[in-house]
Amino acid sequence: MKNPGQADSMEKLDEETFSIRDILDSQLLTSDGRRIGRVADIEAEVDKHGTFRLTSLVMGPQALAGRVNSSLATLLGFLLRDRFENQIPISEVKKFGPTLELRGKAEEYSVGQSDRWIAQHILRWIPGSGI
């Protein structure tokens, strides 16, 4: 690094800048220690004052497909009819980080219901599954 001032500002930038890279693809962890999915997209709203504020985290295959191609998201929306699209209000996030800690327990969120169903109805019969 040639310029010490620049080194400081670079360090500061990396530590202090909070951006959507810190939220997208992060694991969601509930207060009872269950991992219920990853953030596929973020929804935000422009209010009447022009402030653009995050409102919810979006999970599901449709939102994930939208990251690859917007037409793919439209197609999946038509096929899945938004059944697997889940949203969690941003106010539910207690702590941001590599893992987003949520305030509620796993059963309070619609995300991860299919995983839970598979665990309770199928995997529990497998010896050694620990469920």
Binding site: Q6, E11, L13, F18, S19, R21, A44, G50
Partner: protein
């Protein structure tokens, strides 16, 4: 900026243009406030921002003496359409 909901993934990778149509760069990351209000405060563009989004900016900056990522304040954004983020008249990054 028009009121309403937006998915942030729809803003990423869009071309930023000034009011008179000059291309500025692509949105590679979106900076948020750290005051707990979760506001969008700036769009990050340029190569350094791409490296920042990929979490390799710091290492690359040490190796290649890079500039800081470029940002455009949210207040300077006029509209977002299918392919572009248009800046307000008079704002020149």
């Amino acid at each position: 900026m028009k009121q309403g909901k937006q998915r942030l993934e729809n803003i990423l990778d869009k071309q930023i243009i000034t009011a008179d149509g000059k291309q500025v760069g692509h949105v590679f990351d979106i900076q948020l406030s750290k005051d707990g209000k979760n506001r969008v405060i700036a769009l990050m563009y340029g190569r350094q921002s791409l490296l920042f989004r990929l979490h390799i900016y710091k290492a690359a900056a040490i190796a290649f003496d890079l500039q800081l990522p470029k940002t455009i304040p949210w207040d300077a954004v006029d509209a977002i359409d299918r392919t572009h983020v248009r800046l307000k008249p008079g704002y020149q990054p």
